[in-house]
């Protein structure tokens, strides 16, 4: 287990170093997120209150779209330069490689969450309340999204239809995250009543299941990628 975590640290550092040097992922994804934020504003008239009521859902739908882009980018890099072959021969544990990809994706998505959250406050006029619940849900849901993304990413890498196949496979899987995180956000922002922490727990279970599946299933996937 410790060895797998050491491998994960190496892979996460590699992915983040590539991202820091190329600046392609976030410099493309963050403007995309901003564009979506503005387009939702045009589509849902801000004066009618629909924008404010739908803020939680719009936030997480945008995060899911950003996640699809980041996962595609992460695995396109590995495929294009034959890095999968190098990883296979490197002796690193598949579970460690998987967890490293999850860590790198989680950190990138958390940046997206923060920027998007600021955008929602500024453009949609939302007053953040229930900061503790919002923060925990953000972290747990983001880990779940990254865990599923790092599992489904290599399934479609190298395919002719990878650009369309990944959203088709990933978005239905992430529906429970969208539902749970949106409900928890609505409760935290005072737009609904209920057990916000129960939704956070459900998101935690989802993340745990995906992490467990990914750690076990990445071995055979790496062999065939």
């Amino acid at each position: 287990m410790i060895a797998a975590l050491t491998d994960a640290r190496l892979i996460a550092a590699k992915d983040l170093r590539i991202e820091a040097r190329s600046r392609i992922g976030l410099t493309h994804v963050l403007p995309f997120v901003g564009a979506v934020l503005l387009l939702f504003g045009f589509a849902l008239d801000s004066d009618s209150g629909a924008l404010q009521r739908a803020t939680s859902g719009l936030f997480w739908v945008t995060v899911l779209f950003a996640a699809v882009l980041l996962v595609q980018r992460s695995f396109a890099l590995e495929q294009a330069d034959g890095v999968f072959d190098a990883l296979r021969l490197s002796g690193l544990r598949p579970a460690g490689i998987y967890l490293g990809k999850v860590v790198a994706l989680t950190l990138q998505l958390l940046v997206v969450d923060v920027v998007l959250g600021l955008g929602v406050i500024v453009f949609y006029g939302v007053s953040p309340t229930g900061i503790a619940l919002l923060s925990v849900v953000c972290v747990v849901a983001t880990i779940g999204i990254a865990a599923a993304g790092a599992l489904y990413g290599p399934l479609t890498s190298g395919l002719r239809a990878r650009d369309t196949a990944l959203p088709l496979l990933l978005l239905p899987v992430l529906a429970p995250v969208l539902l749970g995180a949106t409900r928890a956000f609505e409760i935290a922002l005072g737009r609904a009543v209920g057990g916000g922490w129960a939704w956070a727990a459900m998101l935690g279970i989802f993340a745990f299941v995906e992490l467990a599946l990914g750690s076990v299933l990445w071995g055979p996937l790496l062999e065939e990628s």
Binding site: L151, Y152, L155, T156, L159, R160, A161, A165, L168, L169, P172, V173, A175, P176, L179, M202, V209, L213, L217, P220, L221, E223, E224, S225
Partner: protein
């Protein structure tokens, strides 16, 4: 190589399924009374519940065959996993159509954002994605491995769908059978439902056997093509 997908076993199963379908129609429309609450629309249940049950069974079988493939790298398991996913998607599609028709009568709308209906639709899309992934992957070994991983991961959604009525506020009626409540339907209705579930089970097995054999023959043809191509290259080499 046997070029037929039929055998004595499939012919017997096919005959049983055909007779069973006739019996289900007779019981559903002639013997079963209308329900006190649901009225005549209860007759849709005799297709809706069996198709979703068959779909769940097939998708669980898909996960088991997927696991077996990753363990043993067996072509048999890969073709069986493909088969169960394809017939499972067919059954899920029928579930959605019959559920939608039932919803139009009982709720007054074809589609309601009900938890179980929505998550069943998501499950349907997920397995359509599974079939799309198989179709988009050319290399047979990569296709089998990726599909097996996806089959196992997708199976973890099935309990979420099944328990969704309990987890989320829902318009969907309580589970009629195998739920937390006691079965509350009339004796002949219960018999018709059980008969229909058995018949749809046989139908699913019959369809799966034929589809499996189509898949297996297709695999053999692919292998023969590869062997023939290798033989031709060898002949060219010898001639040169």
């Amino acid at each position: 190589m046997n070029q037929s997908t039929g055998s004595l076993g499939t012919r017997i199963l096919g005959a049983v399924a055909a007779v069973g379908c006739v019996a289900v129609v007779i019981f559903a429309f002639g013997v079963s009374p209308a329900d006190a609450e649901l009225g005549e629309s209860i007759r849709i249940m005799y297709v809706h519940v069996p198709t979703v049950t068959a779909a769940y069974m097939l998708l669980i079988a898909n996960a088991l065959f997927s696991g077996y493939y990753l363990w043993k790298r067996s072509d048999f398991a890969d073709v069986a996993a493909h088969t169960t996913a394809e017939i499972g998607v067919l059954m899920l599609g029928l579930t959605l159509v019959t559920g939608s028709l039932w919803g139009r009568i009982t709720w007054g709308t074809f589609w309601e954002w009900d938890a179980r209906l929505t998550t069943t639709a998501l499950l349907f899309l997920l397995y359509v994605g599974y079939l799309a992934l198989r179709a988009a992957t050319d290399d047979p070994r990569a296709r089998a491995t990726r599909a097996a991983v996806l089959g196992i991961a997708s199976a973890f959604l099935i309990p979420i769908v099944h328990k969704s009525v309990d987890w989320w506020a829902s318009l969907h009626q309580e589970k009629t059978l195998f739920g937390t409540a006691d079965p509350s339907i009339d004796g002949s209705q219960l018999f018709t439902l059980m008969l229909s579930m058995a018949v749809f089970g046989v139908l699913a097995v019959w369809l799966s056997m034929h589809r499996f054999r189509v898949g297996w023959l297709s695999l053999q043809v692919d292998r023969m093509r590869v062997e023939k191509a290798i033989e031709e290259r060898r002949s060219e080499g010898v001639a040169a």
